[in-house]
Point group: C2
Amino acid sequence: MSEFAVIGKNLPKPDAFGKATGAALYIHDVEVKGMLHARIKRSERPHARIVSIDTSKARELPGVKAVITAADFSTVTPFGFHKDHPPLKGDKVRSYADEIAAVAAISEDIAQAACDLIVVEYEDLEPVFTVADAMKEGAPIIHESKGTNHVEDYDFNHGDVDAAFAEADIVLEDEFELTFVNHCCLGPTCMIAEYDLNENLTLWSPTQIPFLLQRDLAECLGIPATKTKIIQPLIGGAFGKGLDMYAFEPVCCMLSMKAGRPVRLLFNREEEFRYTPTRQPVKGRLKTGAKSDGTLLAREMRVLLDIGAYVSWGVLTPVVGMHTNSSLYRVPNVRYHGEAYYSNNPSSGAMRGYGNPQATFMIETHMDMLAERLGIAPDEVRRRNANRPGDETPSGAKYTTCGLPECIDIIARESGINAERERTDGGPIARGIGMASTLNVAGGARIYRSDGCGAIVKVDDFGKVGLVTGATEIGQGTDLILTQIVAEELGVPFEDVRIVPADTDIKPWDVGCHASRTAFIAGNAARMAAGQARDKIVLHAAKMLEARPEEIDIREGNVFVSGQADRSLPIGKVVRAIHFRGGGSIVTTEAFYDPPNEMTDAGHKGNISATYGFGTQAAAVEVDTETGQVTVKKIWAAHDVGRVLSPIGAEGQVEGGISMGMGYALTEQLIVEEGEVKNPTFLDYRIATSLDMPEIETHFVETIDPEGPFGAKGLGEMGSVPTAPAIANAVFDAIGVRIHSLPITPEKILHALKEKNRSES
Amino acid sequence: MSEFAVIGKNLPKPDAFGKATGAALYIHDVEVKGMLHARIKRSERPHARIVSIDTSKARELPGVKAVITAADFSTVTPFGFHKDHPPLKGDKVRSYADEIAAVAAISEDIAQAACDLIVVEYEDLEPVFTVADAMKEGAPIIHESKGTNHVEDYDFNHGDVDAAFAEADIVLEDEFELTFVNHCCLGPTCMIAEYDLNENLTLWSPTQIPFLLQRDLAECLGIPATKTKIIQPLIGGAFGKGLDMYAFEPVCCMLSMKAGRPVRLLFNREEEFRYTPTRQPVKGRLKTGAKSDGTLLAREMRVLLDIGAYVSWGVLTPVVGMHTNSSLYRVPNVRYHGEAYYSNNPSSGAMRGYGNPQATFMIETHMDMLAERLGIAPDEVRRRNANRPGDETPSGAKYTTCGLPECIDIIARESGINAERERTDGGPIARGIGMASTLNVAGGARIYRSDGCGAIVKVDDFGKVGLVTGATEIGQGTDLILTQIVAEELGVPFEDVRIVPADTDIKPWDVGCHASRTAFIAGNAARMAAGQARDKIVLHAAKMLEARPEEIDIREGNVFVSGQADRSLPIGKVVRAIHFRGGGSIVTTEAFYDPPNEMTDAGHKGNISATYGFGTQAAAVEVDTETGQVTVKKIWAAHDVGRVLSPIGAEGQVEGGISMGMGYALTEQLIVEEGEVKNPTFLDYRIATSLDMPEIETHFVETIDPEGPFGAKGLGEMGSVPTAPAIANAVFDAIGVRIHSLPITPEKILHALKEKNRSES
């Protein structure tokens, strides 16, 4: 029998019934009294000077309550990670997504009609659509005030890379290309802004960073942050999309400020594809040096990033790629160089994995090539280089627990990657198996001075427990995990714990939902607050039961003397006894957990996370050599998650990640031509659907992290990272060609097969 | 200059703008997704056995989603203060308000149509409409299981009352009659119940007792209290109506349980008059003995209460009347005897003053009669008997602060009650001035084992402060007062404090909004939590400013070294410094305040409140001796409120109370004939309107209570209590007749004048 009552058990998500039946109130369902509807007038040019904006006809349209342009923001400096982004653009446009004006009206149709009546006169400027063009001397400058299209450099060095390459038995060097992809949240962008008569601004938002957004909105709108409040209703997916404030958010707020009524802004799917941030497209070059036994000696990664028109937090993704480069497998000498440039393409942002999918795709392709070239089994080359507990990597990551070797073992065994097997169906179908591993931060990531999260716990008269967490549920299962943690720590039934919906006025601070940090950070905070409540209850129950506090235990909502079932009280009775008396008190506690990690130094070194997660996946594919079609038949996944808090929850996270990774590998691509998104529909974007999903076999390696809540580590992003390289490696295993760019389309396969046949013949 | 930054200042209610403009979301405005509408089938008889209930036609009506009868509650014991109340009545009905069946449908019209299709067969029973009839031997028994219509006796004895009457120079003895009145909340009863797929029950409710309702609902519905949650949206008045759970609340919940959808129940104004509880009608007899100098020697009050068909918390109102009898003015020998009986009339409940208006009307009429008979000025007879600080009254009330003498002085002086003045207009108009005083609990009232309230405070990164209070805002201004207290204690601007809307899952416990306890109890709790936050901020700021903590002050959101304006930090900056670092923490605090008062003993003795409030009012009236019409020309009010937290707020409370007291005195009356309410409209009920309101001059006596928050005491109910006797005494002063029953209608005046003329001629 498990030592735990609810940890490790398969329990239903508290929000599952509501979400499955439609009873749940997603942000899209929220109606605020007197709400208007907003539409945004976007640029019709990729790069142009704005000569004039005529909103007169729009203002005259009956039902229009507010029309705003850049002039309404005139006293405000641009926002964003590099303060380069004006909410509405008055002087020039830098992409088709650029917001020029916005309308609030009594209906969405009227607002759209008004937008259509806004006449903008442009003076076209030469556009820049590639990093190569952006880098050129004399290239058109997208942000004149910056004087250059160059945004950022990223450099990391450790050891003597050149010497290591010189002494390597084998050196691989390849170029890779990763494309634009979209988060594809099923709930499209939606928000409601209400600027009320007390001059307080409330934003109902699907953000992942309520506290930073509270600050950013205030700054952008020129109002005190004490006047802003963020409410997060149920969020229909985020995947990193909610890690920035975007222009449309202050625009929606300003519309409410001008109209004096609440204003709702809802994107349709086409807008979601066109105007929300993308994962960074990357052009990269990886050089790997190893000994003939496969031992890694050196790695050098160089990447070029297309940032798009404005800089978001996504500009830091190379820092994560850099960490993957230095810390996935033992590699003593590493170098990283990245450069990011503006373009007139859609702006990129943060997306699940945040630089890790791109870097891992390159590294794991090389690991597979090493195995192939050196005649070592694919699992063996990884096993020989696998990190182990106690490792400190070149970037300063300290691996307290590390289940990577076990993950590799499980995947090799279960997938049969080294077993004899039928390689074809005798006809055009070629079969292959490939594998890949991943490393992720799993104990927070101190990219901000605080990496903490707070929690408030209340135990009521009946033993019902309310938790206010700083954390953000974006569908990933935070509410489930935190409910389990609180129930376990307090010894109450899972059903008796409630996550209390709350807004920034009372939610305890949290840096945001990123870096797979919630179970670990918010989990520890919730556990601490619950533990304090438990302590108070135990102390009082000891008096009531005439026992010493250390003899008291709580299980299933009963407080009892250990081993003496008859000396027992319902937890609610103890709480009532604590406050139903003169001078009583109640059981309400608060805690804040800030993990023992550190910000990296100027050289990008430091133990950024309190612990790290690992995983390995294998994919079995069939490639139709006549059509180029790749079918994934099965995926095996093994992940080191410290301790599994919820088996179905963890499996769901891994499966969702694999689905995203499969799309990244084979089908999904935002086709951007001359700055314009050409396929803004699920059909043309080719998102992986449930029908595309193979059998998935998930294993967990429970390393029981000493710092994690009940030993757990973060998991959220990890499942999506190794899938694409595992599939690419499986394609090579099947047909002997390597595709170094994603997605691996039938066209690329057929083209590569043709090249291969030509070179072999 | 005041020592305070916000206490004692005239600041706007935080909810004023929204309420004044209609932007506020009252409970009536709440829409829950998928909401159905409920109507209740009520009894068509005052007292009858139910032979059969046929709901078949109602169930067949399209759009009907649930029809329930008593059978749906069959496993549940009756609820209520005496556990005598089944939510739906299956065996018999005891009043026209009795709920027999209920329907939830897609519209209110359909639900009503379905109710109309329910056929109930009755077997009439002899009804009981007066206490006299209820007391008779062989009277029809309303609750057979009780075996009697007698509900409760109330006895209090102190000193030797009979001996005191024997030695008194003057003994008065009179009968009084106080009628049914209604709370007349502008927001009629409304609730929404949602029993969700997780089997959690949420009730959006205008209750004043969220935590007791959470328990009561669960008991009544036979579900665990861990499954219930109460949300209180903005409440459009309560005045004591929300101190009980009524049958319609579990009925609405059961409809949601059966329909599987949220269900809304809204009363129209007619139902509000017919089916919500009334103030207790009382028949009373008061005997007062005094020395010839007016010094009170003894008082004996006897009352008979008509409880109606079911027992509510209102059954305890005689305990308050008993307290007034023993503790308003110094009176060494007191006796009280009360009896309460069932009838087939509407059930009475709790209403502002809770027994005090009735008792005070009797006592203050006698005080006036004493003055008249003994030839002492009306203020002087009161001054001679007035309580003083340090008094302990026969019931054990300990008066730490007591401004009653000052209140009497102010009113005598300002009203010119003793000055020579024109007594008539020369024609039919007679003028008079009368006065009356009041005593109220003003530091809680321990009628429950806990008289406490909790608070959670959060100070955010910008100095914005969130407060979650256990207290309930029912329009009385709790949110204003608590905002001021928190702002003052923390040293932040008033505008930077927010009351956070919260539900029972996180609201810290509070016994409820009654007994004028909120400013005192919730105020102290909020101040304690804010004080802890302040301490944490001061401690950290001291380090930052390199000063000792005792040198640090906070004002207007700035933390500074006292007397050194240049050594200063914005409070938000200090909070950020506290948590924007490794191992940081946040500024979230919680406190629970339980006042130093005690439950009364079996003899009703004990210091039930931590402090007491006092007041005196005078009324100037004109009586038209031809029509009997009484017009109130002016009211002077002086109240001891400890410290005035908000002058406009306190004035508003007093003025609202006077409006209620005026209605009670002159016009308002629920006319109940044979168990049926005959005037269920504002017009016929004759509520006092704004046009009836006289000039009101309000004075406050600030006794600065040592236990109150910043010295404040409770005030909520006090303004409404002395108004009616002051007006009645003014009527006597004008025309020389005393009306011993309320309301003082023109008919009663003309009748009394005729009697007086007959006896004088």
